[in-house]
């Protein structure tokens, strides 16, 4: 393993690859910092660049965006009381009070160190857990894969919004969308309305660009905030002292471990992990009364946990081809685009790529820490970039990104159509992530359902006789039931 890891470092430290890693991380931090833009949009915007790059370099760059955006979200949470990404929501609870006390620099410094701790812990877990999980996944039967795909969609649906039914409807619609075009079993035309163009179906990445990025442009054109109000305050005294770090290190490590665990569970993500980490950190703190009034532990724990989810979310994506959260579902699409098939075989067939990602993840944490400290000084200026210029440029980049998928205007049309659909989904409270996951996992689910039934001679009990498949079914049902139950309880309380 260590030889592979060393080879991974050698790959990442090649000048051009290192430059791309730095570029990805810097873009991630800046995108994460801007409210309304997320890591998934960052990856979408850089998709056209990935075609021209070597596979491992492209993937490490995308990981840089992923990790960078997790930290970046904290900057606006601290300075503006507006989290740049949903994963930074808990950071503002203590970050903003610190900013009000004139300690914005220190708060961002603590967030950077917390993110670094979270990233390193999650990468260590990624390095040690994923090869073992890949070994287990090699023994998966097609029935297990089918139920795993359904598990991924159902768990994302139940965690993505208040209304589980709407989440599940979005997931089912995603599966239906994936069926348009040519069926993957016998190659017959299906739901293409006689159009030859639609024989290729709705390309996953075009759908993704539409639902996650173009829909945001359509939403913001209706009069979001045009200029973000940033109070001009001196951002100084950034890096925490050794004594301060010792004070919040335990909270950061605990937060990181919570993040890794939450990240591994498909369909979850940083937004869930941060509050859990915040609560636990408060319980184990020697000064719980400081939480909510500018506690360093209250910043370090959620920041470590949202960066902890990065390595955690990569584990199911790399080993099983099931994304751990929204950003990894975008990354999964990008993987397919550059010709990498995630799954247990990736560890045997393309170990060089896997270990380059592992090494890259470690390097990214150091870049993020270093750039985070530098960025803190210029962050107030970056936050002033007006939406009225940013959004039109994003729109053009989305169009170009969709066009580059296959040099076809059809892909742009699909992206815009799904931008339109995504806008209405938001308006009526449908989460976008289950839809996209349905589109990605649809072909996997269909092929494995067919194979499982062929092997069992059309015996549907195969899904209940195999322990792994049964476990996924039980977990899916339990997760949905739990979410419905807890929503009902909340409604009753209200």
């Amino acid at each position: 393993m260590f030889e592979y890891l060393l080879a991974g470092f050698a790959n990442v430290f090649q000048p051009i690859n290192l430059l791309l890693t730095i570029f990805g991380t810097v873009v991630g931090v800046m995108i994460g910092c801007l409210p309304g833009l997320s890591g998934s949009m960052g990856i979408i915007l850089l998709l056209p660049l990935t075609y021209t790059l070597e596979k491992s370099a492209a993937l490490v760059m995308l990981c840089g965006i992923f990790c960078g955006s997790m930290f970046g979200g904290s900057v606006s949470a601290i300075l503006l009381r507006t989290p740049g990404t949903p994963s930074a929501t808990a950071t503002l609870l203590d970050g903003y009070p610190l900013a009000q006390q004139g300690k914005a620099g220190k708060a961002i410094g603590v967030a950077a160190v917390g993110s670094f701790v979270g990233g390193i812990v999650s990468t260590i877990c990624l390095i040690f857990i994923s090869p073992q999980l890949a070994k287990v996944a090699l023994k998966f039967h097609s029935a297990d894969y089918f139920t795993l795909a359904l598990f991924g969609i159902s768990i994302m649906a139940s965690s993505a919004g208040k209304n589980v039914v709407k989440g599940l409807i979005a997931g089912a619609c995603g599966l239906l969308i994936s069926m348009v075009g040519t069926d993957p079993l016998v190659g017959a035309a299906r739901f293409n309305f006689g159009s030859t163009k639609m024989m290729i179906g709705f390309p996953q990445l075009a759908v993704l660009i539409g639902v996650f990025a173009i829909s945001e442009v359509f939403t913001q054109v209706q009069g979001g905030k045009n200029v973000v109000e940033v109070k001009d305050q001196a951002v100084t005294d950034i890096f925490p002292t050794f004594k301060e770090i010792r004070g919040f290190l335990l909270a950061a490590v605990v937060g990181a471990l919570i993040g890794v665990f939450i990240g591994i569970v498909p369909g979850t993500g940083g937004a869930i992990a941060v509050f859990l980490a915040y609560n636990v950190a408060q319980k184990i703190s020697r000064q719980p009364e400081k939480f909510g009034h500018g506690s360093f532990e209250g910043i370090a724990a959620p920041e470590a946990s949202n960066n902890g989810t990065t390595g955690g979310a990569l584990i199911p994506m790399l080993c099983l081809g099931i994304p751990g959260d929204t950003i990894t579902s975008v990354m999964l699409g990008a993987l397919t685009l550059i010709g990498v098939t995630p799954g247990p075989q990736l560890f045997t067939n393309s170990a060089d790529i896997v270990y380059a990602i592992f090494a890259g993840m470690i390097v990214i944490q150091f870049i993020m820490l270093g750039f985070g400290i530098v960025f803190t000084r210029i962050a107030p200026k970056v936050l002033k970039v007006p939406v009225k210029y940013l959004m039109p440029i994003i729109m053009v980049l989305c169009i170009v990104g969709a066009f580059c998928l296959a040099n076809q205007v059809y892909h742009v049309a699909v992206a815009i159509a799904f931008g339109f659909i995504g806008y209405f989904m938001k308006k009526f409270g449908f989460p976008g992530a289950p839809l996209v996951l349905g589109v990605i996992l649809g072909p996997i689910a269909e092929k494995n359902l067919d194979r499982a039934l062929q092997l069992s001679r059309n015996d549907w009990t195969i899904f209940f006789r195999r322990p792994i498949a049964l476990t996924f079914i039980i977990l899916s049902v339990a997760m949905i039931a739990w979410t419905i139950f807890s929503n009902l309880r909340k409604e009753k309380k209200a």
């Binding site: 056209p48 017959a188 442009v217 205007v409």
Partner: protein, 153 residues
């Protein structure tokens, strides 16, 4: 007292059931196989799931009670959205004819206008510089050819 649900919640539920039925019927015309699911099996399975989810959505809305349908639309917001969609659709329809280089600055200008920018000089500079940068980056660095249009072809 329980809070009533918006009328749209009921419509969504009924629409899902209808979509489920339509997909199930349409899947019946696809090739059937004896072993495995064939091209029709998975759509039928998901259609049933969707119809059941639609039923659950409808039942939830009816149990909670639905408000009377409202048609109070923010006209300004709706027209901005409609204009943005129309510009995007026009772009898709015209880009192969007119080309990226001419159409993209126009789209940028239009979008910036919708986002509230009125300084024409700033708008022109941003539109032209952005288009030029993207064009050069993609065609010269990434070697990906963007639509040139019939005028330049």
């Amino acid at each position: 007292m329980k809070k009533k649900k918006p009328f749209s919640e009921l419509v969504i539920g009924i629409a899902c059931m209808a979509l489920g039925v339509v997909v199930f019927v349409a899947a019946g015309n696809l090739q059937q196989v004896k072993l495995g699911i064939g091209p029709s099996g998975f759509p039928k399975f998901i259609a049933v799931v969707l119809a059941l989810l639609g039923l659950a959505q409808t039942a939830t809305a009816l149990i909670a009670g639905v408000e009377a349908p409202k048609f109070d639309v923010d006209k300004r917001a709706a027209s901005l959205f409609a204009a943005a969609v129309a510009m995007s659709v026009a772009y898709v329809m015209l880009v192969t004819q007119i080309g990226f280089i001419i159409l993209t600055p126009l789209l940028l200008l239009g979008m910036m206008y919708l986002f509230g920018e009125r300084n024409i000089v700033k708008m022109l500079i941003i539109a032209i510089v952005t288009t030029a940068c993207i064009w050069l980056l993609f065609t010269k660095v990434f070697l990906i050819f963007l639509p040139v249009g019939r005028i330049f072809a």
